[in-house]
Structures are given as structure tokens and as C-alpha cells.
């Protein structure tokens, strides 16, 4: 079964992999915006573009993992997330944990979504 890669900005990894009805995609904010809200908005816009390119959408996400540099910013991230993800029929299983992140990243998001 074919694996399709959507290229990203960094060596050694892709923006997304598509295989057997699922797309696996990850985002960080390339502009290192100064707030968690701004980084989350940028990441979700980029992830939505990748989902669309893969033939999926934000109503087809099955699993989300949100890594936050500072868990004190969770409410700020959640407000942007909830606004983006929309109605309950779109809500994926999601984990959100605090972790150290690369460079000036305040949030990093991984999505697994259905493409069929």
C-alpha cells in the first residue's frame, strides 16, 4: 500500500504522511509568534491546509496530541483549539501535556485524521 509524503520545512521529516486511509501531520509555528494563541492559530491553519491537501479535514481528526512549553498557557491554547475544531461531532481524542520544545516554540500539535 502506497505511502504519500507531504514535504515540510525540515530535513529528515515530512509535514505529513498518508497511508491506508489516515494522514499523520505535525505543526509548529515557523514565525515563532510571541503568544501561544498566535502560535496555535498559525499551526492549526497550516495543519488544516495539510489535511485538505491529503483529502481530509478538521471534521475527520481521530487523534490529537498537543505539547505545550508551559501548561499555564493551556487555557489560551484551548480557546483557539475549541474555536477551530467546532462542533462536538468533530471532536477527536486529544492529549495535552507540558514538554520542552525546540527553539521558540510554545506549542507543537500532531494530528491523525481520516482521509477516506
Amino acid at each position: 500500500m502506497t505511502i504519500t509524503r507531504i514535504p515540510g520545512d525540515y530535513p529528515g521529516r515530512s509535514r505529513a504522511s498518508i497511508h491506508n486511509g489516515l494522514v499523520y501531520t505535525v505543526g509548529t509555528d515557523p514565525d515563532s509568534s510571541p503568544t501561544v494563541a498566535a502560535q496555535t492559530r498559525r499551526i492549526l491553519a497550516d495543519l488544516e491546509a495539510a489535511l485538505t491537501k491529503a483529502g481530509s479535514g478538521k471534521d475527520r481528526v481521530v487523534q490529537a496530541t498537543v505539547y505545550l512549553r508551559d501548561m499555564a498557557t493551556k487555557a489560551e491554547m484551548d480557546a483557539v483549539w475549541c474555536d477551530w475544531i467546532g462542533e462536538p461531532e468533530n471532536w477527536p481524542q486529544r492529549a495535552c501535556v507540558g514538554a520542552d520544545l525546540a527553539e521558540d516554540d510554545r506549542v507543537e500539535i500532531v494530528l491523525v485524521a481520516a482521509v477516506d
Copy 2:
């Protein structure tokens, strides 16, 4: 292919998503029990209920991710985990890492399991 959501207790995310023969589910302890052992027991009971509801079971887990607030409590979590997961034919691939967690959570567990 249909995605089924099992509702959870928080806005923007579900207890579980079911799609194409897999269920993705996450648990934290809503009662913020005072020990890692108690939180792990509660979470695994809730996850087992979600697996059963999805048509899966603890003998059908393919991937587990355990996030611990304090890695010094890993042995305490492992004792509860090993008791719960049972025989080697049930043992999934599992990662366990230390991460900051929301509120009074000492442990958060994500499972991916087969429903077919």
C-alpha cells in the same frame, strides 16, 4: 469510512474516536486521587469501559502512551499497569515519559486498540 465519537467530559475533545478498526482513547482521573496508583487504577477502569463500549478490550491494545508528572512514580504506575494488562499476549507497544500535566493530574494515558 465512518468516525464514531464517544463523548468525554471536556469541550473540544472526545473520550474516544473509532475509525477503520481502531479506537483512540485517553484518560485522566476526574477525581484527582492523591496517589499515582489510585489515579492509574481509575484511568485504566475508565479506559477499559471505553474500550468495551467501542467493541475492543484490554487484550486488543496496540499502542499505549503514559505521561507521568514525576518519573519517580513510574514503579508505582507500572505495578498497577502490569496487574491490569495481564498476560504477555495482551502487552502493547508502550512509551512512558515524564511531562507536565493539567491541574492535579499525576498520570495521563492514551491507548490505541483494535476493534476488529
Copy 3:
């Protein structure tokens, strides 16, 4: 649908689970090598052996998660990763975050790969 387990070195979890065209596998360095580069090389060799055993390979990875004890060692890990993963057509979706790890582990890697 059958789940196949590849046994590992620890109770309660397997080196890998295989189900419905995917293998889920995890590695840490059992020898606790003193550098991130050495641990990463050992882990990727072990993961490659598990992928081969499962009928997959490093050109079939769809998702990777890299946990680092110290994000200051990311460049050191990345050099080994990029050398191992090879050409862009092999590049999976990958997240890399800082997390506390068990014992003397400096890096822990989870791969999901296609076996069909």
C-alpha cells in the same frame, strides 16, 4: 483481525505490535550509552531490526515521536536520525519534544510504520 506482538525486555509491554498493516514499535538504549548520539544509533538499529521482523522497513515509517531528556541535544540526535532515515521519500511525520525519561535514557523513540 490478528494482533502480533514482538516481545521486548520489560514486563507489561512489547517491543512491537502489528495489526492491520501497521507496526507500532518503541526503543530505548538498554546499555545506557553515555551520549545522545550513541543512544540514538543503538535505538535506531534495534527499531530497524523490529521493522524488518515485522515486514516493514525504515522507508515505510509513517509517524515518529522522539522524546529527548535535554532539548539541547536535539542537533546531536538529528544528525544520527537524518543519516539513518536517508532520502526524502522515506521521511515520516515526526514530533520531537523534551521529556523526563526513565533511568539513564537520554532519548526514547516511537515509530509507526506500514507493513503492507
